[in-house]
Symmetry: C2
Subunit: 480 residues, 2 copies
């Protein structure tokens, strides 16, 4: 009754031969997203937004549990404020949207539509912070930001996107460094336990770090095409911004000091990670933790007596137990429904028909493995809850196995090229010279993704053959 | 130990003689909000944002319970899209912020920063809606919007504010009209049971309705200075937008039709309502439903043995019961803390000292009445829960009594002027002539707030003395 993978290819481009088109087909056909009327913008449709709300709530819970509070800062930043931190403005100036007029009147100074909020937040912090008693200041913001991009793709790179940005101030360097790594850890745990995606964590190279940061830490997720998706970053600013924006506090020892600062962010890019880490030829596969519908109940031969009633009973039992469940009694055929919910990535399909009811059972079909098992109706709630947990774990393990089998330790440029051209990450030793990094980028379109925390060397010369002494272990990969 | 009202006047302007300055002092000193660097913008500080999160979550729950889903539409609207609905563009064009450049490059067409999203949402709906099966379409959005204002005040009127906007499409006029009123009802119930604010509901006059609507329904709340605050509106658009934006669906009868549309919104203005409906000389008074801290525990003589331990026990018991509770063990004096939390509007202060512990009691001080009662520590959780409920109800009843004692039925212009100049709403009969409405506005700075659903006439001539036959009961008031 359900379609085969081959039949799905008619609707969704072949995942093996045309991954980019597969992605576009999936995001549009599952109604996660649509293109907005302004080039490069996206509309997050109700199904996509429901996933985003689950992501947001899970992250927000973790931020609050680690002592952070939310606030909201203005969308518009005076141009003069943006330019105070030199490296920062150089990084963002070319892609900022500028408001120059209101109605027919020209503004005295153009306003920047925030590409990120360090500058305006620092301006406010300089008013709010006076004493060591005001520290640490641990504020997060959920907001939209705008960065004009030449090439755009829904969720991955859009002119406007939704994100969260944490901005914290600390009395000491040690405390700020600890915060930077703590939040990277929060992200990593979230990726694993909520999105079921393993990440490589580590530090960005000087070339790849955030404009204005001393150190940028990142988490990199491997997509099914072997490319890397930077899924979240955490920056240590030292006193760069607190000096540029004149933030000072009176410390316990009676002297005025500049505090140390961090910022950290994730965005609607995570939606892209979800799609490209777990999808298949049939479309989306959502981990139960972020599936707006965890179980869809499809009555079979619904016109027969008692089927709808039983389906409703199961629906109510699951709903009362806190499962996000949907009962589809629409006039569409069962086959159409099977395909539709598979495409939308619903973790469990529960089929129930007249014969099942006679036998006191129903069928549970899991999206991750496409396996089908029968379950006793008498214990359906716990059976479903167990299966949801198992799907969540299995999806992570599957992604982890895929990732680990697609990392290659490379010893020279050719091996590096072969790795990244064969859907793999290349783990290499590097001399820390930016020219070698550039060479790899130009030759293979692969960039340094991160320098992992485990820096055990496995070679004594730079992968490029430049002859220089190696100092760093680095992952190189093609990236989104 | 606690300050008197008179002592508070030193910090917060006199609520009776300088209400506007009282408002400004309260919003700034309680750290609800601060001014942003761009004129007319505001920063919602953590304490203010925590209140807003509670408001948002309570509203969102109600929208979902009535079948609505959330989505996110782009911030930028092409100028050409804004101008399709003539009345609408005339209403908004003078106050829209325009993005004309990205970096140093000029855009081919200016982009409007959304002042409201009817136009861009209609553009998307015209792609999404084909059949009666796609209706009703019940979408809500939480977003920031920008309307340039000459005179601004935090929460009440700011260039950028946060809001929600529901946009629905229906197959029939009846269904759309029902939705318009249903959502007004949702707002009214929320105002009563969450913000503890009674509202007058009814229809706006032609002059005061939303640009592009056939009918605008409103809820008007009375502030402590007798002025009205429009707290939320619900619009019936008929087919105005669906015709202008070419939204069509194939109905069951096989013909193409334009659907009927509604939109409805509330915003961070509600924060202003909260402050000005319940505050007093000591500052904020927050209804328990939206108080980020519902109970603050202040240990007295905390250095004495057992006090902190007992306070922590009470803290944990309340926390486990789901009460939003804070234990303040900071070095500040008890008196300082009393004043601080009174100013911040925390509903209950729980004091506990050595003698209380000996007697197995603690003191509960309620913010709404400033009364103090003792409570047995053994039953503290239920005592606090009961008191929170009582405070919530009492705050509503107090606001209702104030409101009802400040509405005056007026029979001529002089009575109307006296009413609105004495902190009252004037309930008047009106001929529906816009010139009479304008006359009242020019003479007394009072506008028509709404035509209530109960239209029982109490006079046979227009309040202005124009001589024309009366047709409508209208509330006139000064307004924010």
């Amino acid at each position: 009754m359900a379609k085969t993978d081959a039949q799905f290819v008619k609707e969704i481009a072949d995942i093996n031969t045309d991954f980019p088109q597969w992605y576009t087909d999936v995001v549009l056909k599952t109604q996660l997203v649509d293109y907005g009327p302004v080039k490069g913008t996206m509309v997050i449709r109700p199904y996509g937004y429901a996933v985003w709300e689950l992501i947001r709530d899970e992250l927000d819970k973790r931020f609050k549990a680690t002592g952070h509070v939310n606030a909201y800062f203005p969308l518009f930043i005076p141009y003069s404020l943006l330019v105070k931190e030199t490296e920062h403005v150089e990084g963002f100036a070319p892609e900022v949207a500028l408001v120059t007029h209101v109605g027919k009147e020209e503004l005295p100074e153009p306003l920047v539509v925030r590409p990120t909020s360090e500058t305006i937040i620092c301006d406010m912090y300089s008013k709010w912070v006076q004493s060591y008693r005001d520290l640490p200041l641990l504020i997060n913001q959920w907001a939209n930001v705008v960065r004009w991009e030449k090439t755009t793709r829904p969720f991955l790179r859009t002119s406007e996107f939704l994100w969260q940005e944490g901005h914290t101030l600390h009395a000491t360097r040690e405390e700020a460094e600890e915060e930077t790594l703590k939040m990277l850890g929060v992200y990593e745990e979230f990726m694993k336990n909520v999105l079921a995606i393993p990440v490589l964590t580590g530090r960005k190279t000087e070339k790849e770090k955030f404009a204005g940061a001393i150190a940028t830490y990142t988490m990199e997720a491997m997509m099914l095409d072997g490319k890397s998706l930077q899924s979240g970053t955490s920056h240590f600013f030292g006193q760069n911004f607190s000096k540029a924006y004149d933030i000072k506090f009176l410390d316990k020892d009676g002297t005025l000091k500049h505090p140390y600062q961090t910022s950290w962010g994730t965005s609607t890019r995570l939606m892209g990670a979800l799609i490209m880490a777990h999808g298949d030829q049939r479309g989306l596969a959502l981990p139960p933790m972020v599936a707006p519908t965890q179980v869809v109940i499809i009555p079979i031969a619904a016109h027969k007596g008692g089927v709808i009633e039983k389906a409703e009973q199961v629906y109510n039992a699951l709903k009362d137990a806190g499962v996000r469940v949907k009962l589809d009694t629409s006039e569409q055929s069962a086959g159409w429904k099977f395909n539709e919910y598979e495409m939308k990535g619903v973790p469990i399909r529960l089929e129930i028909g007249p014969r099942d009811i006679e036998n006191g059972i129903c069928m549970l079909s899991r999206r991750d493995t496409l396996e089908k098992v029968s379950a006793d109706l008498s214990g359906i709630v716990s059976a479903v809850q167990l299966l949801l947990k198992d799907i969540q774990t299995n999806m992570y393990n599957k992604a982890l196995a895929f990732r680990d089998s697609h990392i290659v330790e490379v010893h020279n440029l050719k091996e590096l090229g072969d790795a990244v051209n064969n859907n793999c990450f290349a783990k290499a030793m590097w001399c820390e010279d930016v020219e070698c990094e550039m060479k790899i980028k130009e030759k293979y379109s692969a960039t340094s993704r991160c320098m992992p925390f485990d820096q055990t060397p496995f070679d004594d010369k730079c992968v490029t053959g430049c002859g220089k002494k190696v100092t760093k272990v680095v992952y190189f990969a093609k990236a989104y």
